[in-house]
């Protein structure tokens, strides 16, 4: 467990690299394979996940600690968190559409897709399971989401490059993507030795 006085920087690094949500925890893999054909679209998805994840984990932390715990309703967290995430995505979509059309165009389809991304829910749960304070939770969510961005952009750039390579027929398309992801995961496992949490 992460103790309270742990360095915020360590929390960030742990979420970003050591416990990378995609490559080490294997959460949110559907979008990892679905939206990694091109770097541009993976960047869009990563940006959407980052913005929503940071906001949603802060709000869910507040709801959990100030609403659910006082009434001993911890078992309601899944339902209420999904409620928060779905609402938040809608709100953010409205806001960007109104005040920043360019950003809305850039995020495009990826913003609604975030609603059903399990990584968002996982980040909210993990922050609570680690008993983090509000600030630590914020940094943790930032680290997780940037880890998502990093992993999906790296993966997309490898996939963009790999289609030019002479791949055996049986491995073309998704199989080689699976292999790539597993090798990337092995590489990220190397960060495990950095420090233990």
């Amino acid at each position: 467990m992460i103790s309270n006085n742990l360095n915020i920087f360590l929390i960030f690094l742990s979420a970003l690299l050591v416990n990378n949500i995609l490559l080490i925890r294997f959460i949110g893999l559907c979008s990892f394979f679905g939206i990694s054909q091109r770097i541009e679209s993976s960047l869009g998805m990563g940006a959407a996940v980052t913005s929503v994840m940071v906001m949603s984990s802060s709000i869910t932390w507040l709801i959990y600690n100030f609403l659910l715990i006082p009434f001993h309703l911890q078992y309601l967290r899944t339902v209420s968190f999904i409620l928060v995430i779905a609402t938040l995505v809608q709100l953010v979509e409205r806001f960007t559409k109104k005040y920043n059309t360019n950003l809305y165009q850039a995020l495009g389809i990826y913003l609604p897709l975030v609603t059903t991304n399990c990584a968002i829910l996982a980040a909210a749960f993990l922050g609570i399971d680690y008993h983090l304070s509000f600030l630590q939770n914020l940094i943790y969510a930032l680290g997780v989401s940037l880890g998502y961005l990093l992993a999906i952009v790296l993966f997309a750039s490898i996939r963009e490059r790999i289609i030019f390579s002479p791949i055996p027929k049986a491995f073309k398309g998704v199989p080689i993507a699976f292999l790539t992801a597993s090798l990337m995961s092995l590489a990220f496992l190397g960060f495990k030795g950095l420090f233990r949490l």
């Binding site: 309703l73 209420s80 030019f164």
Partner: protein, 260 residues
Amino acid sequence: MIASLLILGTLGLIFGALLTLAHQRLKIEINPLVEKVTNLLPGANCGTCGYGKCNLLAEAIVKGKVGLDLCPATEPEVIEKIAQLLGKEAKIKERKVARLLCAGGKKNAKESFHYFGIKDCQAAMLVAGGNLLCKYGCLGFGSCIDACPFEAIEINENFLPVIDSEKCKGCGKCVDACPKGLIKLFPASQKFFVACGSEDKGATTARNCSVGCIGCQKCIKVCEQDAITIENSLAKIDPEKCNNCGKCAEACPKGIIKSN
């Protein structure tokens, strides 16, 4: 039990109210014209107009920031329709089509070495400027095909891209994609063009490729309009003077004055 119902109910109510509020406060007035114009535009989001996406261009057109004919891919009839919608006069630009200035390919252009690298024009170009003796020759890996938003380009059995002049909208994406600069935009009314880009001397071109323009001047002699000139051993047709008679195409000993 009651507490859980209450809390979940209240949360739901609050979020619902928030969404309703957002729906009202953040309402976006969409000009219905913009949507109609967007539907008329090609929808390939190719970005040639400089707006990135078709709906952004539609907005600019409706606001009157730009002319109706900025999009090169819009057909004249469609431009007229847009003009009717907006109550404006339609100005129609001449349609342009992309053409490949090379007739070489596997059969005709000689290789200087075998290339086994990445099957991509840009990558092949990095290795000593491509694997052809003719430094103007099409490498045939089809970077232009990937760039075309209208699927107008196909590669033929001779490993040369063939541009379908019906499907081509003249957006110019392939022009930028070709590392050899072999694709150029021509006015669609000019039927005949010289399918060679080699500015080498005639003898060098003849050595490198069996279908290169050697500057023999036969086309100049048969042209009644004086539309053809030779610059750097390469014949050029002036679209202003050319009357599409096709005599030059018959006279060309290499058969590289083509029409489409």
